[in-house]
């Protein structure tokens, strides 16, 4: 395949398209022109990469191209957010490249245009298994982080409703159950992401943890988080207090105002069933878990100054049929009524252009080693076997 010629042809079509749309949106053309001029060097060598690494500047022109996440900031940006196979890919390829796709661009454009003095809008990314919902969410969160927002990321809500080793009865409320391990782990990761905010925001209320431990009013939030990490027993209550503080103080008119992005992956776990059992072998309902109860309060749209980005996830969900992927099916009646009204963002498999881009990226990274997979027929076979589903394609290419 003659890449330079292919690139020239694509470039010509892009120029023609731009001249057609030129009259409609001058600003878009200007930014796009700036983008094209700023990456002449890299775009000469790759059709599938873009040197525009700022998510705020991504437009439809970059759709299907890979942008690089800076490796130094990866630990602070996503300590726990990225999918496992993507983390393995980062380790193997020695770089973190994410494809710019339509659902993420749509979500980012909504975030740019929203009015943050109004109550928080809820966005739900839904689609079939392995289509790229979590990656689109991570792309949107990268955008939020570059814009200076505070990011509250729950990497997988399903982990809070199953496989819990220690389930303690709550110290503060009689009917509830605490999950100290999950809560303290999440607080540690929260601290790595949002360190710079924690010294600026102050508590508005006095919290009593035990007879000897309290957190006074007006103390920085960092102290609250340290309390939760150090004293694992009260960490679930600390999470609840933290969520309450952030809800009250997001988007204030004061100097230290910040916008809050609440991101929950697998939000259908909060309204499903759990596999946890109480001591008398009866099933635990999700609302009896402190973490889930407080998170549900966070997902209500009664606070302003931020956005709520969520993903539905079938992998990891409990007692749901394999074909379920729509919001009504996965959230159930109760969940849908609570999340309604929301902005649905559908995520589908790769288009032809995106598949080409993915294929070229794997070739560039020397990932497709089998000689037949590098031919045209091998590519057709890959399209047939994976049906352009991103995760299935990734697993197929791993073994070839």
């Amino acid at each position: 395949m003659n890449l330079p010629r292919l690139y020239h042809r694509l470039r010509l079509t892009v120029v023609q398209v731009r001249s057609l749309h030129g009259s409609s949106n001058v600003q878009q053309v200007e930014t796009a022109a700036v983008a094209a001029e700023s990456d002449p060097v890299s775009s000469q060598f790759s059709v599938f990469r873009t040197s525009e690494n700022d998510p705020a500047c991504h437009t439809d022109l970059h759709a299907g191209q890979y942008y690089t996440l800076p490796t130094a900031q990866l630990r602070t940006l996503f300590p726990h957010g990225l999918p496992y196979r993507f983390q393995m890919q980062i380790k193997t390829f020695n770089e973190a490249c994410v494809m710019v796709r339509q659902p993420a661009l749509e979500l980012i454009s909504y975030l740019k245009k929203a009015d943050y003095s109004r109550p928080a809008l809820r966005y739900i990314l839904y689609g079939e298994t392995g289509c790229g919902k979590t990656m689109s969410l991570c792309h949107a969160l990268h955008f939020c982080a570059t814009q200076g927002w505070m990011v509250l990321h729950i990497p997988d809500a399903h982990l809070w409703v199953k496989n819990c080793r220690e389930l303690l009865p709550s110290s503060s409320r009689p009917g509830r159950l605490d999950q100290p391990l999950q809560a303290s782990l999440w607080l540690k990761n929260f601290k790595t992401t949002n360190d710079r905010f924690l010294s600026k925001i102050k508590t508005t209320q006095r919290y009593v943890w035990t007879k000897r431990e309290t957190t006074e009013e007006g103390r920085p939030l960092g102290e609250l988080v340290d309390q939760g990490v150090a004293r694992v027993k009260s960490s679930s209550d600390v999470v609840g207090a933290l969520l309450r503080e952030l809800r009250l103080q997001a988007g204030g008119a004061a100097e230290g105002a910040f916008r809050l992005a609440v991101a929950v992956d697998g939000v259908n776990a909060l309204w499903g069933r759990t596999t946890l059992k109480k001591e008398d072998k009866s099933e635990v309902l999700p609302e009896e878990l402190t973490l889930v109860h407080n998170l549900r309060k966070m997902l209500r749209n009664d606070w302003s100054g931020g956005a709520i980005l969520t993903t539905l996830s079938h992998t990891g969900s409990l007692y749901k049929p394999r074909s379920a992927y729509l919001p009504m099916e996965l959230l159930g009646e109760e969940g849908f009524d609570t999340m309604d009204p929301f902005v649905p963002v559908p995520v589908s498999s790769y288009t032809e252009k995106e598949f080409e881009s993915c294929y070229l990226y794997y070739m560039d990274r020397h990932w497709l080693q089998h000689p037949h997979s590098q031919t045209e027929e091998g590519k057709k076979e890959l399209i047939f076997l994976s049906n352009r589903n991103p995760s299935i394609l990734e697993r197929l290419c791993a073994t070839l």
Partner: protein, 229 residues
């Protein structure tokens, strides 16, 4: 042996028509899953291929196994390895183990490739299939030993091995080495990938076992004349 007799056999049609057996009459021909063979035009066929095509008009053909595909990604050596790893007929598990092994080998090599400076990159082999084949080749013994009884004593006599036996021994040694001599808590695919990569570099326990067999055969050279075939 059966193949040479098959040309002397009379045309044979079974009385009962069953779908597939494990042991076929030698009159049956092997199926050809490769698509390219059927695309060659009449003029370019070699005399052997023409004869085979003639035979296929009259002789019956064995049923193809469910694990064979017409795709060029299909590798008979890998299929044999999967069958040898299989326990209790759990082919799904053994295919998973082997595909995870190939992935683990590729990941390690590609990671090494990307971290190495440009000068060393060409020397790093990233294709897991070539690594597997080369490692297997390195593990195959050249000469084997057989127990031959002469009088009341049993002697270890060096004998030549067929290609099939060599391949079988190499695969068996790799699998037993990974099952028995590695740490209990590692996954089979990790153990296999480590062993295959060290065999590719001519190191490791399987290569050592092959060398020990060669040394024993060399030591027992004196009894070589006990062999009568």
């Amino acid at each position: 042996m059966a193949a040479s007799i098959s040309s002397l056999l009379k045309p044979w049609i079974p009385r009962l028509s069953l779908v597939r057996w494990t042991r076929y009459n030698p009159y049956y021909l092997e199926p050809e899953p490769n698509k390219d063979v059927y695309m060659i035009p009449e003029s370019e066929l070699t005399p052997e291929q023409k004869q085979l095509k003639e035979e296929k008009l009259t002789r019956p053909i064995k049923a193809a196994l469910s694990s064979t595909t017409s795709s060029p990604f299909d590798d008979p050596v890998i299929s044999k390895f999967i069958n040898m790893i299989m326990q209790d007929g759990n082919k799904v598990l053994s295919t998973e183990i082997v595909t995870q092994t190939l992935e683990a080998i590729k990941r390690r090599q590609v990671e090494k490739y990307h971290k190495a400076p440009a000068a060393e990159r060409e020397a790093i082999e990233c294709n897991p299939y070539t690594i597997f084949h080369q490692a297997l080749e390195n593990c195959k013994p050249v000469i084997g030993l057989a127990n031959i009884q002469k009088g009341s004593r049993t002697y270890q006599v060096p004998i030549p091995l067929t290609e099939k036996r060599r391949r079988f021994l190499a695969m068996k040694w790799i699998i037993t080495e990974c099952r028995d001599n590695k740490h209990r808590r590692t996954h089979m695919y990790e153990k296999l990938s480590q062993e295959l990569l060290s065999a590719f570099a001519n190191e490791g326990n399987v290569i050592k076992r092959k060398h020990e067999l060669h040394k024993m055969a060399e030591a027992n050279r004196a009894y070589a004349h006990f062999r009568w075939w």
